[in-house]
Symmetry: C2
Subunit: 263 residues, 2 copies
């Protein structure tokens, strides 16, 4: 099977012009088929503040009300996604911006209200992906660039970008040998959160479960690892977590970051 890189970036890259420039250069240089999934960044919060839209939290969880979904549709689906695509075109990378609604690409379920009403938040599984259309776009040598937005019943929904990357990886694992790469602000999964160099080079599911039990893994990394192991359990063979610069410079070689595998 052909290789396919699925690369997720978040606010630490989107909010830093120098890092973003470097990332776009490295990403465009990858010669294999590839997909970019981007998160949000500070700009939605900043714009929200200017417009008097408050970020709302219940029990520490962010709530997406009607004003907020419009805000993130504008910022993530408009400003961030469109500018990323235009910049990648300048790097000779034929990017194509996509939200879940485009071509019915990611049809979500609005998160059901139990203890908390999260508002306009979409949950997805690998069955949510319009795999055939996505596969065709890749075959046309375009590079899909996903905003962290899905949809259900005619409305846009906020969806975690890590989850989108993981779900796309699972859905496409029938067609490609997937390498899923989560770029974040640390060099990898850390054995000691206070030591930036304590990178765990290789994490199997057995070791992951052990570290979980021992309480070694901290809050920040847990949702990422949960998405990752969900994908590994359903056809994705390898996942890399670390700093974009490290992971993309030597793509295809295991030089930096944490490599996650099932066994």
């Amino acid at each position: 099977m052909n290789k396919l890189f699925i690369i997720k970036i978040g606010g630490n890259i989107l909010d830093d012009p120098a890092q973003l420039k470097s990332f776009l250069h490295d990403f465009a240089a990858i010669r294999e088929p590839k997909i970019l999934v981007h998160g949000g960044g500070k700009i939605a919060t900043e714009l929200g503040n200017k417009l008097g839209i408050e970020s709302k939290y219940v029990n520490g969880r962010r709530i997406t009300d009607e004003q907020t979904i419009d805000l993130v549709t504008m910022v993530y689906g408009g400003l961030v996604n469109r500018k990323l695509v235009a910049s990648l075109q300048q790097h000779h990378c034929n990017a194509f911006g996509i939200t879940g609604a485009d071509g019915n690409m990611l049809k979500a379920s609005k998160r059901p209200v139990k203890d908390i009403d999260y508002g306009y938040v979409g949950d997805i599984t690998a069955d949510s992906v319009n795999t055939s259309l996505l596969y065709f776009l890749l075959k046309q040598n375009t590079v899909p660039v996903f905003a962290p937005l899905t949809y259900a019943n005619g409305i846009m929904l906020n969806t975690n970008a890590d989850t989108i990357a993981s779900v796309l990886a699972t859905a496409l694992s029938k067609h490609f040998d997937i390498r899923l790469i989560y770029c974040f602000e640390k060099k990898g999964v850390l054995m000691n959160v206070n030591d930036a160099n304590s990178v765990i080079r290789h994490l199997t599911q057995k070791k992951y479960t052990e570290l979980l039990t021992q309480g070694i893994l901290t809050d920040g990394i847990l949702p990422k690892l949960e998405s990752a192991y969900a994908a590994l359990g359903t056809g994705v063979k390898e996942i890399l977590i670390g700093e974009a610069a490290d992971l993309l410079k030597n793509i295809g070689q295991e030089t930096e970051g944490t490599l996650l595998t099932l066994t």
Copy 2:
């Protein structure tokens, strides 16, 4: 050749929830291949006012400065385009939102500075269109929904939606029997601008030139007719101008509006 409808809508529909709802219903019901091109609407101006971004004009012409291109990229490329696509999905129409940067679909030239610097404005011709990718998307039974945005040299540019519709029509006229439909707030091209019912039912290029010479045609309609006759001169056979409700209810039949042809 197969028929293809290219339909352009502007602020009068986008800003009116009842009209928009009715339009989306009628548009989704068209069974032939189709493309939607949308303009702006009041929301960009309203949001701009809230953010303290002033609309700038020189000699009556709108200038797109850096703040304004970011604003319209958010609003037209984000909020308006994404919500239109999600709404169309709800109507079982497999819409796919597109700006000029996506898949290099509309590569523009930034308008050169002569007497006026229009700022971030893109000029396009039929050669600007990535026709093969657009054709492929249509063959996948998706419905492209174009925001009034193009790009050049890695940056987004503001581009008139009438022009985009006209340029797409010309580019696709090799592959389809195109019917280009400009929806606007009047019942058609009027013989007397003060009489809403003085619709000219059929306008040939000869008659158009005569009316131009006689000064019958007023400012508002001139750019639209200029785009239209440019398209008719390069392969598009028929163009309809009028109210969306009239034109879409009986699509394919010449019942309402103004029909433009070369001869």
